[in-house]
Amino acid sequence: MAVCVAVIAKENYPLYIRSVPTQNELKFHYTVHTSLDVVEEKVSAVGKALADQRELYLGLLYPTEDYKVYGYVTNSKVKFVIVVDSSNTSLRDNEIRSMFRKLHNSFTDVMCNPFYNPGDAIQSRAFDSVVSGMMVQAC
């Protein structure tokens, strides 16, 4: 279960960021921001390989003592970042992948909406519900 979910646009500004409200949200925002560096590093590590050679799921970006950060990047350079609690029984990689897949699907639905301008903040209720579904049910 994620503690924080963020969607970052190609230009590295957030389209959507949501944390479990009980904790200090600023901390998570900052974590997500710093994780972008790691994402860039991984993305550029592929080098000359084409995009479809590149894995969309980036895996664990970096672990801290409290939590782990996972990354995923789409072919249009939109990044998804999930922060999970380390104290959580370590989620299997498959679960993280499935979370990203759901996010990606939901994001695509948002994109398909003609009233959504790419680059706007994501305000879709369906997307919200998907994210809520994978957040830690603290409250």
Binding site: N105, T108, C112, N113, Q123, A126
Partner: protein, 774 residues
């Protein structure tokens, strides 16, 4: 009592109210009950009310007579307009508005007063307020006065204020809406709307008074408000039509009015019971939506692209966020385009929202796109998957049955019905040849079943990437492999569809293609070859029996030498190669079997072969037939070469370049596995293998088998040369004998080993037994 002069309107109004309060019909109204309610509805402080009652003399009388009542009402009007309560003001105040009673009635009236300062007000008021008396009268009046359609009988519920109230409630919304929308003219179909408006209104007007009946209709039903706002939504202010209606309605006779009230109350009752489905689209609405759809997309089975829909709905002046939400709800298959059903649902939601109804979180059942709508439903799902596929490869449900509302919202699509149905039954597949065939057959069977390729099922494939790709690849197999059992072909084709399917799926992980290839590894070489699945069932005896008989012309039967027994196989893969050379003398089927047993023993025994000597004899002949041998697999020539110079050819080919030999082998000549010295044979055949790495499964076997097969048809032709044929057959038989002998010895050896093991185990058991007994 002070004289009281009332205007006509007031007179009527007051008399109506009096009658309304006069439930006992005694021409005097008690100070309790209706009157109290009415006065409270006037929203005046109670002291004022007391004062009024005192002034009008009711306190003296103890009840309200008609005149007292009238006076009281007038005083209420005075008080509401802010004037001090004085008896003198009763007659002096001119142009006093009618007293306003808040409980619905007067709200209505007040708003009407505000909105319709023109003379229509009078008509309206008189139209509206006669309702109570009208109702009362209809109680007495016979039903025959109720001439309007739709009004079945007299009111069942005259006394309760709520029916009276409710029609008043809804009309405020409608005039408000009218007013609002009047100020929002926007482009659109002028023609259509008045037509529609008139179509809608006349029935309702005819039934009862225009606004009254309309109100009645709207009371419990969401559609009328939607109608009128819808009418005003894109264009021509309907209010232009409405005022026209009003005078006409006002001019209608009072009987109609009275009847109208009955009608409205009836309708109110009816609609309140029909309220349970507020999202239902009425037929007129649907027709209107369809017409609107046609303006954007003339083909009713086609799609409205997202951009066009965006423009259209932006005209409604709803905030983008809400429009976005409406889109989310109504774009059922998430393809970025709206079908007719989706468009109607979206439009309906927009209209509802404009009327103040909150948007639901989920699409209501009645708005869900149905398969069966106006036009051919069969076509609707089909374009949908195609469009959906092109736009978002994974996320469309071609099937829009209402049975899967929430599921389809999230889920990926699959493209064609074949694929869908194949994935509908995701069968865990193991890539064993026989199972592949079984599953192909199964999928072929299920492929004819076109029931809902439901989204959750289709959802599974993307998640289970490998499993998904396997079924899809299998499905493709089923499509590609007509005859299910040419497994060698199917096997190779396995590889191709898998990789092709991978590219089509929305692969979230780039590793998937690799994963797939890992999933479908080449089967281990020693395994009986899929291409010979049938042959695998042939037992060795038969193959051996066929071997000796292969000499005869009818060797075609044993075209497939049985698969090599597994045991010897893993041990020597190269051995068959070497034994190929040994057993080569144009051996047919026998070679297939004999090879493996040869494997183990051949290295040692090859030099022992009697044939060996023969080869050297024919050395001389190699040069000529070698050329022939290297050409196509001409049976006669090959055979000739086999007999006479087969070994020579092999020897010769040894000397020749590897490519040639590989070419020779590749062309599946029987001559290739001739009996050159084993080492050269091995070398050459190994080079063959190296050159043919792609033949994963059983390169050697296929070589051998192919060569054997190739030689077999050539046998009949050799009959012409009896002597040589006989010699060849003798050689073959000897070869077979030796092979069998070797096999026998080997098996004997294994048997001995097993027996030894058994003995040792028994010994151990006996050692342990005394302990167990103890």
């Amino acid at each position: 009592m002070e004289s009281l002069t009332l205007s006509d309107v007031e007179q009527k109004y007051y008399s109506d109210l009096f009658v309304y309060c006069d439930t006992d019909n005694t021409k005097k109204v008690a100070s309790s009950g209706k009157v109290v309610e009415l006065f409270r509805a006037a929203q005046l402080p109670s002291e004022v009310l007391l004062q009024i009652t005192e002034l009008c003399g009711a306190t003296r009388l103890g009840h309200f007579g008609r005149s007292q009542f009238y006076i009281a009402l007038k005083l209420i009007a005075i008080a509401q307009s802010g004037l001090p309560l004085r008896v003198e003001s009763l007659n002096s105040v001119k142009d006093l508005p009618l007293p306003r009673f808040v409980v619905g009635k007067n709200e209505q009236e007040a708003k009407h007063a505000a909105m319709y300062p023109d003379s229509e007000n009078q008509g309206l008021y008189s139209g509206i307020f006669p309702r109570p008396p009208g109702r009362v009268q209809t109680k007495k009046a016979s039903a025959h006065e109720v001439i309007q359609p739709g009004v079945s009988s007299a009111d069942p519920q005259p006394d309760s204020t709520s029916p009276v109230v409710s029609p008043h409630h809804s009309p405020p919304t409608s005039p408000h809406a009218w007013r609002k929308h009047k100020r929002q003219p926007s482009g659109g179909n002028v023609d259509r709307q008045p037509a529609v408006a008139t179509a809608v209104w006349p029935p309702s007007f005819r039934e009862a008074q225009g606004p009254v009946s309309g109100d009645g209709m709207w009371a419990g039903h969401s559609s009328p408000p939607l109608q009128e706002s819808w009418v005003s939504f894109t264009d021509t202010p309907p209010s232009s039509t409405l005022p026209q209606m009003h005078p006409s309605s006002v001019q209608e006779s009072t009987t109609i009015r009275t009847v109208a009230s009955a009608a409205t109350t009836n309708e109110i009752q009816r609609q309140s019971s029909a309220y349970d489905d507020p999202w239902k689209i009425t037929d007129e609405q649907r027709q209107y939506y369809i017409n609107q759809f046609k303006t954007i997309q003339p083909d009713l089975t086609g799609f409205i692209p997202g951009s066009a829909a965006k423009e259209f709905f932006t005209k409604s002046k709803l905030p983008i966020l809400e429009l976005s939400h409406i889109w989310e709800l109504s774009d059922f298959d998430k393809d970025g385009a709206l079908t007719l059903d989706e468009f109607c649902a979206a439009f309906h939601l927009v209209v509802a929202r404009k009327n103040g109804y909150d948007l639901p979180e989920k699409l209501p059942e009645s708005l869900m796109p149905k398969l069966i709508d106006l036009d051919d439903s069969a076509e609707v799902p089909e374009p949908a998957p195609d469009v959906g596929f092109s736009s978002s490869p994974v996320e469309v449900t071609p099937n829009k049955s209402p049975s899967m509302p929430s599921l389809s919202q999230n889920w990926p699509e699959l493209n064609q019905s074949n694929e869908d149905t194949a994935i509908v039954h995701p069968v865990p597949i193991r890539m064993t040849p026989s199972k592949i065939h079984m599953q192909e057959m199964e999928l072929k069977r299920t492929g004819s079943d076109h029931t809902h390729p439901t989204s959750p099922l289709m959802a599974k494939p993307p998640e289970l990437s490998e499993e998904n790709k396997l079924p899809s690849s299998i499905k493709l197999l089923s499509n590609t492999v007509g005859d299910g059992y040419s497994s060698s072909d199917s096997f190779t084709s396995d590889q191709e569809p898998i990789s092709s399917v991978v590219t089509r799926q929305r692969s979230h992980s780039g590793a998937s293609p690799e994963g797939l290839k890992a999933v479908a590894p080449p089967p281990p070489p020693p395994r009986p070859h899929a291409s010979h699945s049938r042959s695998s069932s042939l037992d060795m005896n038969r193959s051996f029996a066929a071997g000796p008989s292969a000499a005869q012309p009818q060797t075609g039967v044993v075209a497939f030498p049985p698969a090599v027994p597994p045991r010897p196989l893993p041990t020597q893969i190269s051995c068959p190669l070497s034994t190929q050379g040994v057993g080569a003398h144009g051996h047919r089927s026998g070679e297939g079997d004999s090879l493996p047993p040869h494997c183990s023993t051949s290295p040692q025994q090859i030099p022992e072969q009697p044939n060996f000597a023969d080869f050297s004899q024919f050395q001389a002949f190699t040069e000529q037939p070698s050329e022939d041998g290297e050409k196509g697999v001409d049976g006669a020539q090959v055979e000739k070469a086999v007999e006479a110079a087969g070994p020579l050819r092999a020897v010769k080919s040894d000397g020749q370049s590897d490519e040639r030999s590989s070419a020779v082998v590749n062309s599946a000549k029987g001559s290739t596995p001739l009996a050159p010295p084993p080492k050269p044979v091995r070398r050459r055949l190994k080079s063959e293998d190296e050159l043919r790495p792609e033949v994963d499964e059983h390169p050697q076997k296929s070589n051998v088998i192919a060569t054997v097969i190739a030689t077999q048809p050539s046998i009949p032709r050799s009959v012409g040369k009896d002597k040589k044929a006989i010699q060849a057959s003798i050689r073959r038989n000897k070869e077979t004998n030796t092979v069998l002998a070797r096999l026998n010895s080997e098996l004997q050896q294994q048997l001995k080993d097993l027996l030894e093991e058994r003995i040792s185990l028994e010994v151990q058991l006996e050692q342990l037994r005394p302990f167990s007994h103890l």
